[in-house]
């Protein structure tokens, strides 16, 4: 049952790491990481704070673009090139194909994010010569990886029924909405003075909308004054949330894809 998934995932990684557009995005991200210390020096704020914020921002933005570009074309490309027909004519169920493609995308993302994090660590160490700050710094890319895995699941879900262009804007829009407005809806839901109808609406949005903001943990890392209470428990909780949400999206994607005429 898992062998076809692993094979499809491995093939997807092989294709992803050869896609020029992804490599260019990755290269731009890496270049920005390398020149970030130079840009940090131009800021009036504490150099370390700016450098950390900038580098983490570069990794997050680059990873998000890679995650979307990588996944929106994944299923449509297989259909357009007819590779899917040869695969589905073998004893491969559609859910296995979809899950294989997803794990392939996530594995490729992991490789690319690991590369960027390595550059981040190396550049930061060269600039600051302070190895003690590095473990804290790595926490953010780890959480970003969970965030990007969730984003990839959103994009692969949409790719089962919309075109790549529509998917790009849908997934990108949902990512921005889930990153910027999820905390707002959460506050609205929990606030005492919110009317009941608005509370129900906020709760509905909060339930449906993937909460990408959970993984934006850069503030405590950039500003040493801030910290997350029960840090380990928080990381575990948001990771479980992400995994469950991903599983839900893959199940929903399979239901749609199962009946789709390819």
């Amino acid at each position: 049952m898992f062998k076809p998934i692993a094979s499809i995932a491995a093939t997807t990684v092989g294709e992803a790491i050869r896609r020029k557009v992804l490599l260019i995005i990755l290269l731009i991200g890496v270049l920005f990481l390398v020149v970030a210390p130079g840009l940090g020096m131009l800021s009036a704020r504490s150099e370390t704070t700016v450098l950390r914020g900038m580098m983490l921002g570069i990794i997050q933005l680059t990873s998000a673009v890679i995650a979307i570009v990588l996944t929106v074309y994944m299923i449509p490309n297989e259909i357009e090139r007819r590779t899917i027909y040869t695969i589905l004519s073998k004893p491969v169920q559609r859910w296995q194909f979809l899950v294989g493609k997803y794990f392939g995308a996530v594995s490729a993302l992991l490789m690319m994010m690991t590369l960027m994090t390595s550059v981040l660590v190396f550049t930061f160490w060269l600039q600051q010569r302070d190895a003690s700050a590095i473990p804290d710094l790595i926490k953010a890319p780890v959480m970003y990886f969970v965030q990007m895995s969730l984003l990839a699941a959103v994009a692969i879900f949409f790719s089962t029924f919309v075109s790549p262009l529509v998917n790009f804007f849908l997934s990108g829009g949902l990512y921005l909405l889930g990153s910027l407005f999820a905390p707002f809806f959460q506050t609205l839901q929990e606030s005492q003075g919110t009317p009941q109808a608005a509370k129900i609406f906020a709760q509905l949005v909060n339930t449906i909308l993937p909460n990408f903001a959970n993984y934006n943990i850069q503030n405590p890392i950039i500003n040493p004054g801030q910290q997350i209470q029960n840090e380990s428990s928080y990381y575990l909780q948001v990771t479980v949330y992400g995994v469950l949400y991903i599983a839900g999206l893959l199940v929903a994607g399979t239901i749609v894809f199962d009946r789709r005429e390819v």
Binding site: K3, P4, A6, S7, I8, T11, G14, E15, R18, R81, R82, T83, Y85, T86, I87, L88, S89, K90, P91, V92, Q93, R259, E261, V262
Partner: protein
């Protein structure tokens, strides 16, 4: 003989904004016997690929029934016994020929290096197994496609336009491979436009037009009733006309009189009569009916409405 493929009233409908509902495949009754090479012919958009996709459970029929190797379509267990090479196939270009076989084999849970090499030898790609697919020519890609289609030792192979866009040498290589599949006892279902190719290798054919099977049967039966041209010397055009052979044309040509007829059985008596009348036979040229003629006649002469009634040569002698 058992049926490798059997469909009963299989129908696929698509909705079009302009034309409303269109039956891309309309009440298809198909019968393919085990161990034969079956040609599935039709013009572009006739419903050939849609039919194959339904048989492979890639798309779903709207009505009717279909059975592949005795199992209802949609039964995944049959996918272990069949294989498919799509039209103008694309394979992952970053892989080598060997890696491609490994990948497809892994979908069956097969990991047999000796098998991969043997199959690449069979399709004459063993010397190029380390080249990436992007370095393969069209013909080589088609051959590696056939190799991947043999990984599970299939009983039934679906080949969609297997020689489309290939040069004559590649044509011949693919044709020889397909013939070898029949010798190995496999059933081969070919969808093709290459009528001369089909005529050479297929046992039975079906011609589909606008989603409807217009003709189906053994090639030998479908192409029966060719013409014979006999050139006489020493007899007159009128003498031959007076013999009153049905469906025949007589005309005087340089060096004799030419009789063009479908009545092969009466030819011997006519030749004897001509000889006893001091006539001489210059030549006898059988003009076999070609699949291309039958195809064009079926597709262009018969309007779709008339074509709805399937003509099966086993049932009817008038083709």
């Amino acid at each position: 003989m058992a049926a490798a493929i059997e469909t009963k009233q299989l129908t696929k409908t698509y909705k079009s904004r302009i034309h409303g509902k269109i039956n891309v495949v309309d009440s298809l009754d198909l019968h393919v016997e085990e161990g034969e090479i079956f040609g599935f012919l039709g013009p572009n958009g006739a419903g050939k690929t849609t039919t194959i996709k339904m048989l492979l459970s890639i798309i779903y029929p709207d009505a009717g029934e279909g059975y592949v190797l005795g199992k209802e379509i949609g039964d995944m267990s049959v996918h272990r016994l069949i294989s498919y090479v799509p039209e103008r196939p694309y394979y992952y270009e970053h892989m080598t020929g060997l890696e491609l076989l490994k990948f497809y084999a892994s979908l069956f849970g097969i990991n047999d290096q000796a098998l991969f090499v043997r199959l690449l030898e069979k399709v004459n790609l063993h010397r190029d197994m380390s080249k990436t697919i992007s370095q393969y020519s069209k013909g080589m890609q088609q051959r590696v496609g056939l190799a991947q289609a043999l990984l599970n030792d299939p009983k039934l192979m679906f080949l969609d336009e297997p020689t489309g866009g290939l040069d004559p040498i590649a044509h011949r290589e693919i044709r020889d491979l397909i013939l070898s599949f029949r010798e190995e006892g496999r059933t081969v279902f070919i969808s093709s436009h290459e009528l001369s190719e089909v005529e050479l290798i297929c046992d039975r054919v079906a011609i589909i037009n606008k989603g409807v099977i217009a003709r189906q049967g053994k090639l030998t039966d479908l192409l029966r009733g060719g013409r014979v041209e006999v050139t006489f010397e020493g007899v007159t055009e009128q003498w031959l006309k007076d013999k009153g052979m049905r469906d025949s044309h007589v005309r005087t040509i340089a060096g004799g009189v030419l009789l063009d007829t479908t009545e092969e059985e009466d030819i011997n008596a006519l030749i004897d009569a001509a000889r006893s009348n001091s006539g001489r036979i210059v030549s006898i040229v059988p003009r076999r009916k070609r699949l291309e003629d039958l195809f064009i006649q079926t597709v262009t002469d018969a309007p779709a409405a008339a074509a709805k009634k399937t003509i099966t040569v086993e049932e009817s002698t008038s083709v």
